[in-house]
């Protein structure tokens, strides 16, 4: 019975992911200890507590809402990464697709005062086309998707800065509040805000992201298209010989991945939770954290829901460390440590399965002898 559970792939993923988290947090704690031993323990606990930092229920709910509002876009980015990874493509360009998606929806809202679904759709289309470039280059020119993705991240960042400067607040480097300029562009809340003590940033983005995660799971596991895409990922040539359009599959995969990441951008900026800084010099971390969430979730959409929330939970929690001695980037440090550790997951699983197989082989060698004994009786 225990063996059966141990052999279950999902269970192994869960155990190894939890192990990554524990080791990552421990290493983060050690770093804090090295910087300043006096408040390391309390700061680590505050970071893990996040919204529980507050004592009143109202404030707790409000801050939980804030974490969820940012976990939804993160989930979209991680879905983008894991979807592409299932097809054998490493979509590091999710960060740039997130940026260009944000750019599209902010521009549509501020310049055209478009209703929210138009802004969202515009983001999706722009993101799909943008990631489609990576797909085209990969399918027809054999360009490594990691390198072209990174290049497009920077091109996307500079384009966004240039375009959004035309609609920014003249007195600051930030874009205008969408809620002031075009209230119709804000994602509807459908009463969800009431559940989180009137946190207006809690919108339909959160349930929508979860529904999309489930849709991706169904698409990958239960449809013909999903099967073809996964087959292309496993062996491009075999898929080609079996009559699948492997070039089309690569482009389609990246277009879907781009649409997902771009939707993440829309889910964040159409809530007005954050404003785009038009002098931004670094690609936002959201897309890269999506990679962390995808691998921590064992490359499973349902796992990604949990891991996205976890990563966002500690990222938001980073604000509650003792800022007199530490910086809030300690949570970035921990999430990057977790991804590094995720690199070892395959090895761990391999070692675990190997050990179990060996012990079974030993048993199998013993059993025939036992049977003979039984036969004599």
């Amino acid at each position: 019975m225990l063996k059966k559970i141990l052999k279950n792939d999902g269970f192994q993923t869960l155990i190894t992911s939890l192990l990554c988290i524990v080791v990552g947090l421990l290493l983060g704690f050690v770093v804090l200890l090295c910087i300043n031993p006096t408040s390391a323990a309390s700061s680590t606990i505050e970071m893990i507590k996040n919204f529980l930092h507050f004592s009143s229920t109202n404030l707790r709910l409000k801050n939980l809402g804030n974490t969820l509002a940012k976990a939804a876009p993160l989930l979209m980015c991680s879905l983008s990464v894991l979807f592409a990874y299932k097809v054998g493509l490493f979509n590091i360009g999710a960060a740039g697709q997130f940026v260009i998606g944000s750019c599209a929806c902010i521009y549509a809202a501020l310049a055209w005062h478009a209703p929210w679904f138009v802004c969202l759709l515009f983001s999706i289309v722009v993101g799909a086309v943008y990631a489609g470039i990576v797909g085209l280059l990969k399918a027809y020119c054999n360009v490594n998707e990691v390198i072209s993705g990174i290049m497009l991240n920077w091109i996307g960042l500079y384009t966004t800065n240039a375009l959004l400067t035309t609609v920014k607040d003249p007195n600051s480097p930030y874009t205008l509040h969408i809620a002031d300029v075009s209230p119709g562009s804000i994602l509807p809340t459908l009463g969800l805000d009431k559940l989180f003590s009137n946190n207006k940033y809690v919108t339909i983005a959160i349930p929508l992201a979860i529904i999309i995660a489930i849709a991706i799971l169904v698409l990958l596991e239960k449809t013909k298209l999903g099967y073809e895409l996964r087959a292309t990922g496993n062996n491009k040539n075999a898929a080609k010989y079996a009559g699948m359009a492997e070039k089309r599959n690569i482009i389609l995969t990246l277009a879907i991945a781009g649409a997902l990441a771009a939707m993440g951008g829309a889910f964040l900026y159409l809530t007005d939770y954050e404003l785009w800084n038009c002098t931004e010099t670094a690609v936002p971390a959201m897309g890269f954290n999506g990679i962390a969430a995808a691998f921590l979730g064992g490359l499973n959409p349902i796992g990604a829901i949990l891991s996205s929330y976890f990563i966002q939970h500690i990222t938001n929690g980073g604000a509650y460390v003792d800022l007199k001695v530490y910086s809030s980037q300690i949570s970035d440090l921990i999430s990057s440590l977790i991804i590094y550790l995720c690199g070892f997951v395959f090895f761990l699983k391999y070692a675990l399965n190997n050990a179990m197989r060996k012990s079974e082989e030993k048993k199998a060698q013993k059993t025939p002898v036992d049977l003979e004994k039984g036969g004599k009786k």
Binding site: C141, V143, M151, Y158, T159, G343
Partner: protein
């Protein structure tokens, strides 16, 4: 015009050093996507030397800063070595994690250091304006930078090591066909470790070069602007060959230099092209160049595949 040449050479030096690092790792069979992270750590190593020993005499300062960058770069590349060679981890994930980790770690560290020195200082900036002068030598209007020399030496050493020594040829064998190399008694694991560590040296040097030539102080929150990846593009376009890498780096360096100095050149300033376009130019060019050259790539055949002794 002198300024353009000067900037071109300086950015070429950065790209070439880092691309040569990537070249060593890939020839040994390991894809080093963590070069960007190695650059960040290398620059941190050099900057720390300048921060804590600001009054060293000129030549000692130069050697100490280079040594700091090399040591930090090498130590950081061990993260890739352990994961990719000993634990057969996915090299793409590990490299990506290293890039993220480097920025976060450098930021946390520098902020902690600044805050410890002055409780009101929560920036992630290290200044080195005065120390920087040790590295510069004015010859007429041209500002000679010691890093240009480092890059040239790095190129010569890389070429000679790879093609003229037993070690280099063995290293390349491990990237082409590790099983064959193993069968004639070459230790593939050791060779791959050597490749990764050398890429750490070059990456670290490239990192310190980048921050020293770009500014008089560095904010570690921003990393190195994707230069590690531009260097990978240079390496691919250079077909993993040091001399070709040098030429490719010149091309990329020129476009990067244009972004820095175009406003000072009348002809370009009159074109009224927005500065954003110049900033994007190196990335766009590298995309185009990759599209044109990736089809007939001469990449080491076994790169990215973990070596398993038992595999046929």
């Amino acid at each position: 015009m002198v300024l353009l040449i000067q900037y071109t050479i300086i950015f070429t030096s950065v790209l070439m050093l880092v691309a040569l690092g990537g070249c060593f790792a890939e020839h040994s069979g390991v894809i080093n996507l963590g070069l960007e992270g190695i650059m960040v750590l290398g620059s941190l190593g050099g900057a720390l030397v300048m921060r804590f020993f600001p009054n060293l005499p000129g030549p000692v300062m130069i050697i100490a800063v280079l040594a700091g960058a090399i040591i930090f770069g090498m130590l950081y590349s061990c993260l890739l070595g352990v994961a990719a060679i000993n634990f057969k981890a996915d090299q793409t994930i590990v490299g990506t994690a290293m890039n993220m980790l480097s920025v976060a770690a450098a930021t946390v560290f520098v902020k902690a250091m600044n805050t410890a020195a002055n409780p009101d200082d929560v920036s992630s900036v290290i200044q080195y304006n005065a120390q920087k002068q040790n590295f510069l030598l004015k010859v007429g209007g041209f500002e000679f930078n010691i890093f240009m020399l480092v890059a040239v030496v790095g190129l010569v050493v890389a070429y000679l090591t790879l093609y003229k020594t037993k070690f280099g040829l063995r290293l390349m064998a491990c990237g082409e066909h590790p099983q064959a190399a193993d069968s004639v008694g070459i230790n593939v694991y050791k060779m791959r470790w050597a490749g990764v560590l050398i890429s750490g040296i070059y990456g670290g040097l490239g990192g310190i070069t980048y921050i020293m030539v770009s500014a008089a102080e560095w904010k570690f929150e921003v990393g190195v602007h994707g230069f590690g990846f531009l260097a990978l593009a240079v390496m691919i376009f250079g077909q993993w060959n040091p001399l070709r890498i040098c030429l490719t780096a010149l091309l990329f360096g020129l476009f990067r230099a244009l972004a820095s100095v175009y406003s000072g050149i009348d002809f370009l300033a009159n074109l009224n092209i927005p500065s954003t376009l110049y900033n994007m130019l190196p990335y766009i060019i590298s995309l185009v160049v990759l599209a044109l050259t990736s089809k007939n790539s001469r990449a080491p055949k076994a790169e990215g595949i973990p070596y398993d002794k038992g595999q046929r």
